[in-house]
């Protein structure tokens, strides 16, 4: 018998862009209307091609002030006094509209962010809709959240979100805030404002009362104006630890409540009794999902030394099958890096990794000429002292470390300034429970990784931030009388 080994080439299968119409320019969404911002407008590009998608208004401090005043009015006049069951109806309506317009949101997200359409279509958008469905159900049941009877909303929430999951992070912030009876001023990330602006359109389509949701696009200064505004009662931020720290400083000494969801350097621990093939899948899902632009990414692989070579060989074979390229192609696994700035950081840290003595491995893969791209990368021979084992790279770069005993695995996993997530791979249930109890991480996945659900609280230890989003716990961040 002979093998001819004909390669099975997948023809291009691009999702059509025509479902999305992008306007030449966008204003701010304040008090139910699109208005021009008074700051200097900026452009947003498709990171896969560097093509300019559109021009977006930048919110100045005065614009932010208008937005906060609109939110305050809505809180006092419409949304706050509204029957909770009616607030729930609006949220259900928004959830359904997100589902109806799912393809539009998915295509726009992939265009603006660079993530593969498979992920925006199968993960980001469905989870965003699910988040609204979930919190819609809570809107008229707040007495039963477990925070005592009649917990009260805080008022106006100022929310600043990152570029890695633009629509999903919006949903994580907006849905619980609204369900609890607050109104919001949200600042999307500078490089990915478009799905938030499409969401503004959905708010209008849902007849959401004016001022309940305000979206102010812009860069760091706009975000600072939101966070530091005197009439904001609550600040919620997801993003880098550095910015989080400055927000904590700005908010210190004020009445504002604060939740921070910051960086991570999660350990993905693979024991020698793990289901190896699924563990390899989980390692891939852990670090290459969304190009590694995931705060809870499994960026440190801790593998038991006795199976190190076997796991690395399997991992390399599997990485060789990842399809890097056009984010709109339905068969793409890894899309574009979100920005030139982020690409530079990934390159810099990878070069430091190599200079410090770790072994870099990348599959043979052709990258497009234009746009921002980085191939999936693994570093072996990484020591806990290396910077690639300590600093968050926020890209498709995995650092591989080894351990000999469960105690050593726990010690190394916890030896980080972060504590957002962790993974454990073992077929032994008792071991999973024992190790999970010792890990200082907000989320511990067992025999899976990067799985999200609106019912599950999410948040970190240490420099990964504080407060929880999602589930019943996520409501506590938006309610008074919530702290017993």
């Amino acid at each position: 018998m002979t093998s001819t080994s004909v390669p099975f080439e997948y023809a291009p299968a691009p999702e059509s862009r025509s479902i999305v119409s992008i306007a030449p320019s966008y204003g701010l969404f304040i008090d139910g209307e699109f208005v021009d911002g008074t700051g200097e407008p900026f452009t947003t590009v498709n990171p896969a091609t560097e093509e300019v998608l559109t021009e977006v208004s930048s919110g100045s401090a005065a614009d932010v002030d208008r937005a906060v005043r609109a939110a305050r009015r809505a809180f006092e006049k419409t949304w706050g006094p509204m029957r909770p069951a009616d607030r729930g109806k609006y949220l259900f309506r928004i959830a359904r509209l997100l589902q109806e317009r799912a393809r539009e949101f998915a295509v726009l997200e992939s265009l603006d962010n660079g993530k593969p359409i498979r992920e925006s279509r199968d993960v980001d958008v469905p989870l965003a809709a699910a988040q609204f469905f979930y919190y819609a159900g809570w809107a008229d049941k707040l007495d039963h959240v477990g925070l005592g009877t009649r917990p009260r909303p805080l008022g106006v929430a100022g929310q600043v979100i990152p570029w890695n999951f633009p629509l999903l992070m919006l949903a994580w912030k907006v849905a619980p805030a609204l369900a609890a009876g607050n109104t919001v001023v949200l600042k999307p990330a500078e490089t990915t404002p478009l799905t938030a602006l499409l969401f503004a359109e959905v708010c209008r389509q849902a007849d959401l009362p004016a001022g309940v949701v305000n979206i102010v696009t812009g860069a760091g200064d706009t975000g600072r104006a939101v966070v530091e505004h005197d009439d904001v009662d609550k600040v919620a931020f997801t993003g880098s630890t550095d910015v989080g720290r400055s927000i904590a400083r700005a908010v210190a000494g004020t009445r504002k409540k604060l939740t921070l969801e910051l960086g991570g350097k999660a350990a993905n621990i693979v024991f020698d009794d793990a289901p190896i093939d699924q563990a390899v899948e989980g390692i891939v899902q852990g670090i290459f999902f969304n190009q590694g632009h995931v705060c809870c990414a499994g960026s440190r692989l801790l593998v038991q030394e006795s199976i190190h070579d076997e796991v690395i060989a399997s991992l390399q074979r599997r990485i060789g099958t990842l399809r890097v390229g056009d984010p709109l192609d339905k068969n793409t696994d890894i899309g574009a890096i979100n920005s030139a700035e982020q690409l530079a950081r990934i390159r810099e840290l990878s070069d430091i990794g190599e200079a410090e003595g770790a072994q870099r491995w990348q599959p043979a893969c052709e990258l497009p000429d234009r746009g921002f791209w980085y191939p999936p990368t693994i570093f072996t021979d990484v020591s806990p002292a290396h910077r690639i084992a300590r600093d968050e790279i926020f890209g498709p770069v995995l650092s591989v470390l080894t351990f000999r005993t469960p105690d050593e695995a726990v010690a190394k996993a916890n030896n980080t300034t972060y504590g957002l997530s962790a993974g454990i791979w073992s077929e032994k249930g008792s071991r999973i429970l024992q190790i999970a109890n010792q890990l200082r991480a907000g989320v511990v996945w067992a025999n899976t990784f990067n799985k999200f659900d609106p019912t599950s609280p999410f948040g970190g230890y240490k420099q990964s931030g504080y407060g929880r989003e999602g589930g019943r716990h996520g409501l506590a961040a938006y309610l008074e009388g919530a702290e017993q």
Binding site: S3, S5, F8, D277, Q278, E281, G282, T321, K330, N331
Partner: protein, 342 residues
Amino acid sequence: MPLAAQGRMAGMTHVLDPDALSDDARALSVPLPPYRDVTRSDSAFRAFLHGLPGVDQVGAEARVAQLGTRSIKTTSKAWAIDTAISMVDLTTLEGADTPGKVRSLAAKAMRPDPTDPTCPRVAAVCVYGDLAGVAREALGDSGVHVAAVATAFPSGRASRAVKIADVRDAVQNGADEIDMVIDRGAFLTGRYMDVYEEIVAVKEACGDAHLKVILETGELVTLDNVRRASWLAMLAGGDFVKTSTGKVSPAATLPVGLVMLEAVRDFRAATGRQVGFKPAGGIRTTKDAIKHLVLINETVGPDWLDPDRFRFGASSLLNDLLLQRQKLRTGHYSGPDYVTVD
């Protein structure tokens, strides 16, 4: 081989067919290196099979679901359809099978689409052993193989001697591929050496005919069992591992396929021997077939995208492949009257 097992087998074969098991079979029973010693005793074999890495069912299902979203269009779809047709084991396994039915199937196997001579022929016709001769004669030198199910298919509930006789009969009738069933009862009670020795004996009885070992995964149920049974069959010398008889549901599911493909991949990496894979039962549409081709492509790679290494056990699949093929050629869907009834 343990003495007790030899005694059992000698006792069985003596009754119906004194030469059913020869000394050669015992020589064959030593697996390839580096696994020569894993069958030295019942306990060693058990320890080996239970020492294989476990399979996480949730993870396996998630992986095949992700691969199921691959979008295979235009030129790659045309390639996939022709490749799938060339890998079909066109099957009829009914009590009502007759020489006429088998001849009609053979004609279809050689020329699946009478309106289009560029349509590839299928890989084999699969029948019960007593009709293998009819199929052989009808297929002539067309290159289409004759596969026969044997070993008290589908249940496998007969004495080993009867099973061996069944195999010999099918081979004598002209089958050049034998699809055997494993003894699931023995497997589920942990008598792995019995299952192993039976496959070795059947392989010997096959002579030059290729042996496909049907695990009947719908009765093994867990993916851990599927992985162990796959390794058992490969160590015993099976040329193919096959999911199902088609008589038990569920049959060829994608998670089972994933685990079996991982097994043949790992077995080749360890021993250098490439074992084929045949999902059978429940694959009825072009979409299902393409999902399997994608699964192969991304689990074991193109080395298995070859009729010598991969087959679809199916009956109604072929007509759907032909309809989709016509659709790609003409741009519109036709209907069941535009393909032949079997």
